[in-house]
Symmetry: D2
Subunit: 296 residues, 4 copies
Amino acid sequence: MTRPPETLDALNAMPASSFVAATGQAFEHAPWVAEAVVNGRPFPTVAALHEAMMQAVRSAPPDRVAAFIGGHPELGSRVKRAELTDHSQAEQGGLGLDRLSAEEFDRFSRLNAAYREKFGFPFIICVRRHTRDSILREFDKRLGNDAATERAAAVNEIGLITRLRLVEAVDGPGKPATTGRLSTHVLDTVSGRPAPGVKITLHEIGASARGLLKETITNADGRTDAPLIGGEPLRVGTYELAFHIGAYFASRKHAIVADPPFLDVVPIRFAIAEPEGHYHVPLLATPWSYTTYRGS
Amino acid sequence: MTRPPETLDALNAMPASSFVAATGQAFEHAPWVAEAVVNGRPFPTVAALHEAMMQAVRSAPPDRVAAFIGGHPELGSRVKRAELTDHSQAEQGGLGLDRLSAEEFDRFSRLNAAYREKFGFPFIICVRRHTRDSILREFDKRLGNDAATERAAAVNEIGLITRLRLVEAVDGPGKPATTGRLSTHVLDTVSGRPAPGVKITLHEIGASARGLLKETITNADGRTDAPLIGGEPLRVGTYELAFHIGAYFASRKHAIVADPPFLDVVPIRFAIAEPEGHYHVPLLATPWSYTTYRGS
Amino acid sequence: MTRPPETLDALNAMPASSFVAATGQAFEHAPWVAEAVVNGRPFPTVAALHEAMMQAVRSAPPDRVAAFIGGHPELGSRVKRAELTDHSQAEQGGLGLDRLSAEEFDRFSRLNAAYREKFGFPFIICVRRHTRDSILREFDKRLGNDAATERAAAVNEIGLITRLRLVEAVDGPGKPATTGRLSTHVLDTVSGRPAPGVKITLHEIGASARGLLKETITNADGRTDAPLIGGEPLRVGTYELAFHIGAYFASRKHAIVADPPFLDVVPIRFAIAEPEGHYHVPLLATPWSYTTYRGS
Amino acid sequence: MTRPPETLDALNAMPASSFVAATGQAFEHAPWVAEAVVNGRPFPTVAALHEAMMQAVRSAPPDRVAAFIGGHPELGSRVKRAELTDHSQAEQGGLGLDRLSAEEFDRFSRLNAAYREKFGFPFIICVRRHTRDSILREFDKRLGNDAATERAAAVNEIGLITRLRLVEAVDGPGKPATTGRLSTHVLDTVSGRPAPGVKITLHEIGASARGLLKETITNADGRTDAPLIGGEPLRVGTYELAFHIGAYFASRKHAIVADPPFLDVVPIRFAIAEPEGHYHVPLLATPWSYTTYRGS
């Protein structure tokens, strides 16, 4: 959205047509959604506003919902890039869906075609909550649905997409949670202290993965100054943290290490399934052992 | 049983009356059990012999089973000690049921009385598989049973008691498992090596517990030369291992320890529920951290 | 100190005699310490003020220092309780030194006498940083010192005592750290979630220990709403946390537990050596395993 | 060695010339080594025989040692393959040094040339104790040595090479340890049981690594039926075990897993530094946490 955020108070007080213009953007090409809730104002929270708008979608006549679903752009369709709204372009671009290899483009095209042939509408998914690998996984899974289940799945994804947009477009109380967080912590259990200066990399891994996402180093508290990922939804997918503890212990006076060290770069491979969750993935390490877990 | 073990081969071949004399001892005051199976010989395994004898018990007329159950001695009944068979005395003696405090004796007496009043027969339990605390726990639990359930429970315990006796009385193939094992292992994860010379104590704990059962020290492989408990059923109950790792790490050149050490004596408290199981309870330790688990 | 805290600004600006009265309280019966630094004002931080006062002590003539040390009350001396300043009484009272058993009183008396005979001045220790057991341990250790080492040790303890008093008596920037913190966290690694509702007790243990210090329960984040100990120095000593994870896992639908459960009450025994440190002692648990460590 | 093993007893008793023929093979082109010890017979152990032969090498005149060292083949030298003794060919072949890529061959050739130029003799290393990566690492490290250190290093490697050959050529008591072992164990700490049916792969990793070495599956005890590597020296190098615990927990009724599972394939990356050591690398796992360590 190119316009600056409105406050919820302002949205509750403005003329109906301004409200439709201001909030309607979250629902592409569907001002009727905003129109359906304008008389429900004032909304006490941003979450209540979004829930009312989704309720309007879910209770709209089937034809209108079908047209609404059908108006969404296809995923990864290069030839259609010019027709994307600014929102959709930014959302799909963040994942590199506009820079697919020929092979990946073909795979997406085949899936799009199969999906459209089976269901008669485009595959809708809240791209910002997914990696390319999890989109392909969802594609495969949802292609097996029956039509009613899949229409509900499409509306559910629209709810996730518009929730993200609304949270960015409206300032006010009671925003729904739309961001996740990935954090870590390195404990040196030889000395019972946080391990500072440990190099950490984070890769997205998988057939279509984006590769290196972050390289950082632990601070004096054994943590990273900023979350490894934060302030946005975590993308469902597989990741690998690599902790360079060999170099760390080599620099400690009292560490008992072998040559080459038993542990050098410790990989922790894990999947994220909850885009709005907090994944704390710490490492408790000696030169000869380690423990990791999903913490909180 | 004071007579030396017979071999299964000998039992299979001897005259019927000798067979009854030799195996009947396992079933106190009930030669009819051995008589019922004598024509089922030869038995291929000790387990098959025992199973046949228990099948004879389970299919005997109710009156005979009731008399058989009723003929068992009461638990912890000092006044009846003189009437115990040698077997029962040894079995109950190992747990100190003949050395109860006045308070414990009263508790056992009250439970025995309540049980006999409700069910009309004495409380039967395979004492060698229990601690005093678990006997009291079973007493409480089984007092809540109905009569049919409890008769089955009594027969089941007779099966456990006689299985132990038969395994000791008969040498041969296919002995049922009647012994458990408790073992440990101490790993020093600062050096990636077993921890030798670590003092370990094992206590039985609880209101009526026997206290210190074992004090030992780890060998060069971080293990104990003999299992902490072995060669007999493990007694259901609560135990505490204490690992003296403070002294161990104080003696290691490179250990980083505080004064006083963060970890000195590490207690691991756990319960045994499977008398014939293997409980391996290791410790992976640094001066600042440890991990324990039921291993195998 | 019964008077309300002064601000550092006020102390820096007030007449010399008021300054001596206000800060001198931290240094019992020794107004000369405050007098020695009054012209060093203004002090930018509370820490700088305290350091200047301690510097005055350390550079005072030996006789004056000796008299200053000698003016401190003896530990645990009931007969002298009436002569304690309000400060000393409150500080020693928190540990129950005014409620010693006859045996403990005798032990303290003997140590006090031996110490005074060897060094000619009373044993000084910052009681608020110690348990009775660690005081006795320090007594034994310091009785072995030579006179010069022990005079320095006494001055060092006076620094710790007065630092605590000054921090309470003066409001202002740059307060030295005088408090520690003990916290915990329970992770259920069966479900990858914090464990809520886990009962936790904290005991001080040892021959002269105070016993139960805290009983609490974990909140939705698996932590305790308040630190187990906080807002004051941690007392050097041995502690035992007990985590009631048996009851927790018994209440979880999918936990695989034995009867009795392998782990019920998990004791974690550890020592605190740094009164101003942060001790985070978490538990990562399943019904069959756990890990603990000094975290941060 | 193509001839069958001799017994130590036979070697101790046979004519001198037969002894030289039988044992001399372990020391390529250097019958003088066997000749030097033939009168030292009988040797009580295979280790004593080998130690005597190495002592003969170490105390031989410098020229003879130099010639002996100089007579060894160059590593990875394709053009010289025809000149290798059967032993050397088998030993170097097991690592694929006869199937080097052009780039690797060039690298080895350059290192060989640099080494020969600096020291005047070929680089000798007990290939069966190394991976290609560790050979290259040793090459780099030893190129920095001075001549005396490196002559000692070459003799030391000859000791390791001949020890392996002698152990295979001679049957008898007191064989020196020449084999290592890599083993694993998977514990399911959700159920407190070994994890059966877990797929495990072992890869050698690194720039010149051999890749997949083993694919296996855990048995009922959570172990592998055979060691992952055993019966030969472990090769110094970097390895990665991958435990497919996602599929395992997906098959367990009570496991609490996400979709996709937080942990699916768990990689454990470690280096082996002791070819004759025992590396036990177990995994204690839930669907949300794991611990690994060098065990014993």
